[in-house]
Structure formats: structure tokens, C-alpha cells
Amino acid sequence: VKVAAAAVLVLGLGLLPLVTTYYVTYLASLIAISAVVVVGLNVLMGYAGQVSLGQAGFMAIGAYTGVLLAGGAGLPWAVALAAGGAAAALVGMLVGLPTLRLSPLYIATVTFAFGQTVQIVLVHWDRVTNGPDGLTVVRPAVAGQPLRGVAIYYVILAVSALLVLGAFNLVGSLRGRALMAVRESEPASLSVGIAVSWYKTWAFAFGAFYAGVAGVLYGWLTEFISPDAFGFDQSLLFLTMAIVGGLGRFWGALVGAAALTLVNEILRPAGVYRQLVLGACLLLAILLMPQGAWGAIAAGWRRLQRRTA
């Protein structure tokens, strides 16, 4: 079943541009980018048990680094992509460091303050970032021609798929289990020789790296970035995706990213009502589905199997 589902998914996504409009591939790209951020966030929150209210800040660092290196300094786009992730990961580590001794409550505060700080810096450091007016992004070029339309969709899809698979392998590895041990009990983890501080810092860097790469991809997709795209609302949206999908449920992150990207884009013309609906989604998910959508799906699947057996 799993292999068949994966094959259908790959085939469907691959053939998508042939059967639909550009807008649908745009939405699919956006979902892929959000999925990368949320998968990273899920490792940080769901597996390592930390919390981040500033994930969009890491995304911004990646996006701006990518643009400045590829557009300004003229570096190859693959380098810009990696550098965007690396810059975000470095900052993520720095943000993770002071939170080592703190409870989730304080970590939430520090990461929120971090997100706000990024906003303020982006707006005011206008010599580099062009302030609130933002920057135009030059898409990666193949043989001197910038990629257009459908081509960029395939690039984004490929990079995202690679990152998601990377995270999937991580979660099943020794390192992934060490992260979960840290989440369950820090003293117990310490006593069996897990370097708690290292893993927590590392989880922050990991989540930030994913957000940073996603930021570069986002720039490529929209060809324009500005501080507005990376505010607290955006951080909260990623958080909602992670919660709705189910914290600590690997595939839930994808479900949450897909569902809420669609809700967010469909409601875009509805203005303020969009914020109301997103807030309600988060609250209802916490109150009614503590395990997230993926948890609910898994429970339903088990029930079904038991009934047929």
C-alpha cells in the first residue's frame, strides 16, 4: 500500500502541470515550500519537544541571504540555496543556545522576540534589504535563461522532496530517537548518555535550516520578497500547520501544510476573516484533535482494520 501510495503521489505531482493551470502548480509549489518549513518545525517541536514562534524569521534570513548572494554577489544558485539554509541554521543555533536552560514558556517568548527582531532589522537596514519595499528575486538560470513557469515548479518539488526524505530518515535514526528521549525526559536522557544541550541546539539549527532553504525557494517562486511575507502571522501559520497535522507525526506535517496552505490561499480575498478562520483552526485543533489530523486518520484506519479483520 505504501509503495503504491508513494508512486501515485510522485506520478500525480509530476504530471500535475500537464493537466492543470499555472495557478494550481503555483499552489502546489507553495504547499511544497510550507511542507519543508513544517517538517523542520515538526522535528523541533514534535520530536525534540521545543517550541518556536519565530519560524518565519529563519525563513526570511534564508530568503534574503539567497537573494543577496545570487542576485547581488552573482554566486551560482545552488550555492545561494545552501548558503540560505546555512545562514538560517547558524542563527538558529544562536537562538537555541540561550534557550537551553529555559522552559517551553520562555522559549516561546525568545523565539517570538527573535521573529520580531528580524522584522525590525529587515525594515530598517534598508541599505542591504531595501526596507519595506523588498527585493526582486532573480530565478535560477540554466544556460543563461532564467527558469520559467513549470520548470521552477519541478526544481522546488525536487528540493522539497529531498529535504522531506532527509528528515524522514533522520526521525527513524538513532539521532531521531535521541531527540524524542530529550522530549520525554531531560534528566533520564542525560543519565543514559544523551548530550541534551547538543541535541536541543541541533534541533533548533535543523528547523532553521529547513526554514532557510524554504525561504530561498519561496523567493524563486514569487520572484519578490519583502518583510511582510515573514511576519508573526506567517510564523503562526506554520505553527498551525504543524499542530493541525499532528506534532510528532511525520506525515502529519505534510497534511497540515497542504490543508492550511489551501485554506490560506482560498481565503486570501476574504481579508480579516482569513485570520479569524486560521485562529479558529488552531484553537479547534488543540481542543478537539490533540493528536492532530494524522493522529485522527491513524486512529480511524486502525478502527477500520479491526472491523474488517
Binding site: M45, V51, L53, L97, P98, R101, L102, S103, P104, L105, Y106, A108, T109, V110, F112, A113, F114, Q116, T117, I120, V121, V123, H124, S185, P187, A188, L236, L239, T240, I243, V272, Y273, Q275, L276, L278, G279, A280, L282, L283, I286, L287, P290
Partner: protein
């Protein structure tokens, strides 16, 4: 004007926002002391309080005092309602869930007010005069002094409440150990209802008080984050520490705004908070709590 007077003026001007932060911080501390969770929708409760006051006083034309008291009642009932719908089901949920639920609630309240009232800024007539008074060469408005005085008054009331009143003691007991408290005959749900009702009423009062200082808008609740930082600086459970943290934040921000950069003054206060947390995770006046396995 000599430099010393100038610095003094900058410090004194910082007391006004500082008192606002302290007032916000008290709301966080009240809920935290009683329930062990943090209400990130407190700023939005303050915002709703300010709008309620605005409607009662400026639009329905009620005199100041009845409008203020009615706002308190409305806010109290609103707090009870929120506790029943949102926080009661999360009694045994992990801290992160409660934090996120309150953030979601804040967003719902913010967008609901934006839908109903629009994005316009509103002004609110001040309780105390805004005509500046000179002390030496330092200028201060009675309004800011008033807000400082009320913050100190509320601080004293809260401290006394937690120390001597049955309900305050029950709240402390519940935050210490819910099971033990209920075995001693304390009704935990009742204590929770009271806590959220009171904190909401406090938010309503804060909203009306600070409304003349900051413009009333759906986004005004974000000022509460500064209050939250103030509470952290103060050590979160210490009421005097909270006031100190608020005033310190206000003064520090003002100094940073004048002597470093206006654009980056928020960044500086965030860095200050992160610095304090890195060195003294329990806050400036808080006692270190040892985590037991």
C-alpha cells in the same frame, strides 16, 4: 539644559510606558500564580477592555465611573466564558498546548474586533490630566503619574489578596499542587473560574487606564508582549519584581531610543531580555526553582 537634567527627563519619560508594561505584567502574573499557565491573549483582553470602555463612555454616553465599573463586569463575565470554553478542557494538557490555545484565542479576538470595528485608531478621554507639570527641569504629565500610582495600588492589592484572602490562598494552593488542593476541599474548577474572571477584569481595567496613553486599535494588544517581558525580568511570580521589571523596561527602551537608535529600541529590549534569561533564568528578583524528576 544641562546633560544631567536631560538624562533625568529621558528616564522619567520612560516611566510612563514602563508603568503600562508593569500593569500588563500583573495580568500575566495573576494567571500564572494561580494556574501555572500563561495567557498570551491577555493583550487582546486589554484591547477588548479598551473598546468596551470606549463604547460605554464615548458612544453610549455613560459617565466615567459607571462606564468603568460596567467594563469591569463585562470583562469578568467574558473571562468566565473563555475559561469554560477554552481553558477548562485543557486542564491536563501540556503547557505548550495551553500557550498555543491562548495565542489562537488572541488572534480570534483581534480579527473579530477588526471585523466589527475596523482598523481605525480611536482616542479615549484620559482619566488624569495630560497637561505637563515641571519638576525642576523635568516635565511629567499627571496622567503618567496616575498610571504609575494605579499600578502600585493594584500591586499592593494583589499582594495582599494572595497573602491574606481565602481565595488568594486557594489559588496559590491550586498552583502548587492541584490534587492536594482538591483533597483539602478546594474546588479547583471554581478557583480556575475566579482566576480567569479576575484576570480578565484586570485586563479590562488596564485597557481603560492605558487607552489614553496608546491609541485604541485592534493591534494595541501587542503592547502586552512588553508586559510579558517585564514579568519575565521580574521573575514571574514576584509581584514587586514585576513592577520593577516593567519600569526598567520602559526606562531602558527610552534611553536606548534616545542614545542608540529609535528604530532599534525594541531590539535592544529583546536582547536585554535574552541576556537576563541566559544569565538568570529565574528573572532578576525570582528565586531559582529546581526541577524535580
Amino acid at each position: 539644559v544641562s546633560t544631567a537634567w536631560y538624562v533625568a527627563q529621558v528616564v522619567v519619560s520612560g516611566i510612563t510606558p514602563g508603568a503600562t508594561y508593569a500593569l500588563m505584567a500583573l495580568g500575566f502574573v495573576l494567571v500564572f500564580k494561580a494556574t501555572g499557565v500563561v495567557n498570551f491573549a491577555h493583550g487582546e483582553a486589554v484591547m477588548v477592555g479598551a473598546y468596551t470602555g470606549l463604547v460605554m463612555h464615548s458612544e453610549l454616553g455613560l459617565p466615567y465611573v459607571p462606564a468603568f465599573l460596567l467594563t469591569l463586569v463585562v470583562a469578568f463575565l467574558f473571562g468566565l466564558l473563555v475559561e469554560l470554553i477554552v481553558y477548562r478542557p485543557l486542564l491536563r494538557a501540556p503547557v505548550v498546548s495551553v500557550i498555543l490555545a491562548s495565542i489562537a484565542l488572541g488572534q480570534i479576538m483581534r480579527s473579530a474586533v477588526r471585523i466589527v470595528r475596523g482598523d481605525d485608531m480611536r482616542v479615549f478621554p484620559p482619566v488624569f490630566s495630560t497637561r505637563p507639570v515641571a519638576v525642576g527641569e523635568v516635565v511629567i504629565t499627571p496622567l503618567s503619574l496616575g498610571v504609575v500610582a494605579v499600578s502600585f495600588l493594584l500591586m499592593a492589592v494583589l499582594a495582599a489578596f494572595f497573602r491574606w484572602f481565602q481565595l488568594g490562598k486557594a489559588m496559590r494552593a491550586v498552583s502548587e499542587n492541584q490534587l492536594a488542593a482538591s483533597l483539602m476541599g478546594i474546588s479547583v474548577p471554581a478557583v480556575f473560574s475566579w482566576t480567569w474572571g479576575l484576570s480578565s477584569a484586570l485586563a479590562g481595567a488596564s485597557g481603560v487606564l492605558i487607552a489614553p496613553l496608546v491609541m485604541i486599535s485592534p493591534e494595541m494588544g501587542f503592547v502586552a508582549f512588553k508586559g510579558f517581558v517585564a514579568a519575565i525580568l521580574g521573575g514571574f511570580t514576584s509581584i514587586p519584581g514585576t513592577i520593577l521589571g516593567g519600569l526598567l523596561m520602559g526606562v531602558l527602551e527610552n534611553l536606548a531610543g534616545v542614545f542608540v537608535s529609535t528604530a532599534y529600541k525594541d531590539v535592544i529590549s529583546f536582547l536585554f531580555m535574552i541576556g537576563v534569561l541566559a544569565v538568570r533564568p529565574a528573572g532578576l528578583l525570582g528565586a531559582a526553582r529546581i526541577k524535580k524528576v
